[in-house]
């Protein structure tokens, strides 16, 4: 291998310009992805069975004039592409139209709810990470131990446990018997809000923690089997030093999958919100879907996709930052 050559190339590429370029390329890719998604989301209106105009007024009794005004408002008589561009233009200005179910703009409707879902998913993300990652590491460190076995068994159960049943169980145990946590509602803001979200967040985290536990354990076990660990041991490095070696390596796959976990969380709060009667975007979506409130459905779908895409982008950048190998590959 021509080391001098590759070294020169590397130093050149490691310069700040390369990172900017990397981010720009990824941003562009994310933008493109979102554009395609927005198209799909827009097409929902036309894919839903029935006349789009009728779909937009819901099941209210409608006069032909009202239908016509809806057609005009949404440019439904224009060519498809024009309609899309028009809609996209509005969306980019934060205008998703009006909710069919409640006569408010989708934006105001969402504004009230996004915060709650965001808080709920952040809290359960934090819980997941705080609990599952250390347990996964500990279990991997002592494969086959009682801790490993019991946690692995628990994680297997956790993945399959129906959200509603878990939620109810938690409500009974912690809300009623021990009376530690409030059993309903989303609190008055501030700390109270977080306090109210604890049980829902645990419910949401239970299934996810199982996944993260497994993931962390697998990643750490894989690293522990690497030659560099044996080599480090043979050189007499302390347990602490070896742990830090292993963790730095294992945390790369773990941290990046955690990004996706967060994205998944944000889109996966539906069941918990329904179970705990929380008014976040999940329960709004569930309601809007059954009521065929298309503008709301479109907005939530696109919003969630955006959050996921941006998280993926952040993960890529994180990857770039923590893994020198990716830095090299990413730049080629």
């Amino acid at each position: 291998m021509d080391t001098a050559h590759s070294h020169r190339r590397l130093t050149q590429l490691l310069s700040r310009g390369a990172l900017t370029r990397f981010i720009i390329v990824r941003l562009a890719a994310t933008g493109l992805l979102l554009l395609v998604l927005s198209f799909v989301v827009f097409a929902l209106l036309h894919l839903t069975p029935g006349d789009p105009a009728r779909n937009l007024v819901g099941v209210r009794n409608v006069t032909p004039e009202l239908l016509q005004s809806i057609r005009d408002k949404y440019h439904l008589n224009d060519p498809f592409m024009n309609q899309y561009l028009h809609w996209l233009g509005n969306v980019l200005h934060g205008d998703f139209g009006e909710s069919i179910r409640n006569n408010t703009t989708v934006t105001t409707l969402l504004a009230d709810r996004v915060m709650l879902t965001l808080q709920l998913s952040s809290l359960s993300f934090a819980l997941t990470v705080i609990v599952a990652v250390p347990l996964g590491i500990a279990a991997a460190w002592r494969t086959g131990s009682a801790l490993d076995r019991s946690m692995s068994a628990a994680s297997i159960v956790g993945v399959g446990a129906p959200t509603y049943a878990v939620g109810l169980l938690l409500l009974y145990v912690f809300g009623l018997w021990f009376n530690i946590f409030p059993v309903y509602g989303s609190g008055d803001g501030g700390f109270d809000r977080w306090w109210h979200l604890v049980l829902p967040a645990i419910t949401l985290a239970s299934g996810l923690a199982a996944m993260v536990f497994k993931l962390t354990r697998t990643a750490v076990v894989a690293e522990l089997n690497q030659d560099y660990v044996a080599f480090a041991q043979s050189r007499g490095l302390t347990r602490r030093q070896i742990r830090s070696l292993v963790l730095r390596n294992a945390m790369i796959p773990v941290a990046t999958s955690l990004g996706l976990v967060f994205a998944f969380l944000f889109g996966g709060t539906i069941l918990v919100e329904v179970t705990f009667a929380l008014q976040g975007i999940g329960s709004l979506l569930a309601g809007s879907v059954t009521f065929k409130d298309l503008p709301v459905v479109q907005a939530i779908t696109l919003l969630t996709a955006t959050v996921i895409a941006l998280t993926a982008l952040a993960v890529d950048i994180l990857y770039y930052a923590v893994d020198p190998r990716v830095r090299k590959r990413g730049m080629q």
Binding site: M1, S6, D227, Q233, R235, N249, Q332
Partner: protein, 565 residues
């Protein structure tokens, strides 16, 4: 006081049974002891037992003595924890995996230093300097370095805590010939400077012969012979040692047939009674088969009931007269001006290569790693496209009947989901031959016909390679390309395969393109050779002539790197 290291009565037991049995070993300060033996003989397990790094499910008993310290190995890996690093350190085979990929080299080298020295620039420079690496390496990540450089970093790291004894488990096997030599030189120098003991595990007899003060020969988990340096081979007492020595192809001349040891290495735990080598030994008698011999002797020791005496006549070796390259005009294939670049930023993998192969002729290509040998073979066989130049065949048959190829790694050469019979039948069909020939094919490569229904997983490496060869000759190609077909096999198996190739060539009259970096191996097979470096053919000619009087600087360098020959 440094009195070296003694390993007494080591027994390693795995889940299936004994892996290493009653092993004793002593290394003096400043001494190099080589541990040789075929794959699976327990060399690595011995090294791991000595450092307390045995895999899960494998346990050891015995004791380890270092200075005034005696460690009972039965106490488990923790017992050795205090010794690792300070007294004893292990250097692994694969430089590509033995360093953490996301930590800088400097960090990894100094990790074993006392905390106050870890940040010292001066110290890092000194350490890098010792292994002939520039200072910048400290800030680089392993993946930014070549294999040789990485192995130097690993060496620096294992020396960081100034061990009294360094165990190298095939520390140079993954490197190419020239780098291998540099690395061995470096090890030797450091060892001398530090008066450090070195336990060198290798399967390369040449390396052992050239570098070791003392050589231990292992077979199926047992020590069968030990003695002073090159003497062990020169005056081998154990038939196994002699067999190993004889299977190792010489560079000086070509043999009509390599004296291979028949059969294959048994699993250590499968040997019940008697001498472990008895089943493969042509000198074995009833006692050998029923009673295990003890290791006896003083300076040199041997575990054999019927050791070979100095006076015993050695096998008569038949030196073949090299087949002269026929300067016929019946070229089978002619390659002209072949060039290939993998990506615009990469250097040329092939640079204007001219090669021709005559019908029925055995041609070799030698060169160090990355010189383009494989790329050339792949272009020739159509697995890779090339940028310019041309390949012209003198025959007009379908590709399958023009050339076939045998790869280096036998374990992945065969489809694990197909039986041997199915694999061969498919190859026969591709050459428009009858399926009925499967049995004949197996016989041709020396395998029993029951193998038809076996799957590759149940076969040894040598057997797998035989099947791969059988598949390659099934369509009766005019050219057989072998890309390092024996470099992952043990010497004894290697000899078997090389013999097989020679006999196939003779019987089938096909041409051979033999690619290798091992000059001694190629010597045994081909009549004409091309030497490649950096994608270019730098020298070519009759094998004999090239060996005798290499013209190109690179060729000379290549020859001088060959150890112990």
């Amino acid at each position: 006081m440094n009195r070296g290291l003694s390993l007494n009565n080591l027994v390693v037991t795995g889940p299936a049974g004994l892996i290493v049995t009653r092993m004793d070993l002593h290394v003096e300060p400043g001494q190099t002891v080589a541990l040789v033996g075929e794959s699976g003989s327990g060399k690595s397990m011995t090294a791991k037992a000595m450092t307390g790094l045995l895999p899960r499910g494998v346990t050891a008993t015995g004791s380890l003595q270092l200075d005034d310290i005696t460690v009972d190995l039965a106490l488990g890996p923790q017992a050795l924890a205090g010794l690792r690093g300070q007294y004893i350190s292990l250097l692994l085979q694969n430089p590509f995996t033995s360093l953490s990929p996301v930590h800088r080299c400097g960090e990894q080298i100094t990790a074993a230093l006392p905390p106050d020295l870890r940040r010292s620039k001066e110290e890092i420079r000194r350490r890098l300097d010792e292994v002939d690496l520039p200072e910048r390496v400290a800030r680089q990540y392993p993946f930014e370095l070549s294999g040789g450089m990485r192995q130097r970093v690993a060496l620096a790291a294992s020396l960081a805590s100034n061990p009294q004894i360094l165990i190298g488990d095939e520390p140079t096997t993954a490197l190419d010939v020239t780098t291998q030599r540099e690395m061995l030189d470096l090890l030797e120098r450091i060892q001398r400077e530090r008066d450090m003991a070195l336990l060198l595990i290798t399967h390369d007899l040449g390396v052992a012969r050239e570098r070791a003060d003392k050589i231990l020969v292992m077979y199926a988990g047992r020590l069968v012979e030990s003695g002073e340096g090159a003497d062990v081979f020169a005056h081998a007492q154990h038939p196994y040692t002699a067999g190993l020595r004889d299977s190792d192809p010489p560079l000086e001349h070509r043999l009509v047939e390599l004296p291979a040891i028949a059969g294959s290495v048994p699993r250590p735990w499968e040997v019940a009674v008697g001498c472990v080598f008895a089943p493969r030994c042509d000198r074995a008698d009833d006692r050998c088969r029923n009673e295990a011999p003890e290791l006896v002797g003083t300076t040199s020791q041997v575990a054999c009931w019927k050791p070979i005496a100095l006076t015993d006549a050695s096998h008569p070796i038949q030196i073949a007269t090299d087949v002269q390259a026929q300067n016929t005009d019946n070229d089978l294939v002619v390659i002209r001006g072949l060039s290939k670049r993998f990506s615009s930023s990469a250097p040329l993998a092939l640079d204007n290569v001219d090669i021709s192969i005559h019908s029925g002729e055995a041609v070799g290509i030698v060169g160090e790693s990355g010189s383009g040998k494989t790329t050339l073979a792949r272009c020739l066989i159509g697995l890779e496209s090339f940028d310019s130049g041309d390949i012209s065949w003198s025959i007009n048959t379908p590709m399958a009947q023009r050339a076939q190829i045998v790869f280096q790694d036998p374990t992945s050469a065969l489809n694990p989901a197909m039986t041997i019979g199915a694999t061969l039948a498919e190859a026969l069909r591709a050459g428009q031959r009858s399926k009925a020939e499967v049995v004949a094919l197996l016989q041709l490569v020396g395998l029993p016909s029951e193998y038809i229904n076996r799957r590759p997983n149940g076969l040894s490496g040598g057997e797998q390679q035989r099947v791969a060869i059988a598949r390659a000759i099934a369509p009766r190609p005019k050219l057989l390309i072998c890309d390092e077909p024996v470099s992952s096999l043990d010497v004894s198996v290697q000899a078997q395969i090389l013999n097989l190739m020679n006999s196939l060539l003779k019987d089938l009259g096909i041409a051979l393109l033999f690619i290798t970096h091992d000059l001694a191996v190629v010597r045994q097979v081909v009549s004409r050779v091309y030497v490649m470096s950096n994608g270019r053919v730098v020298e070519s000619g009759n094998m004999e002539n090239v060996l005798q009087s290499p013209q190109h600087e690179y060729t000379r360098q290549l020859f001088s790197s060959v150890a112990g020959k």
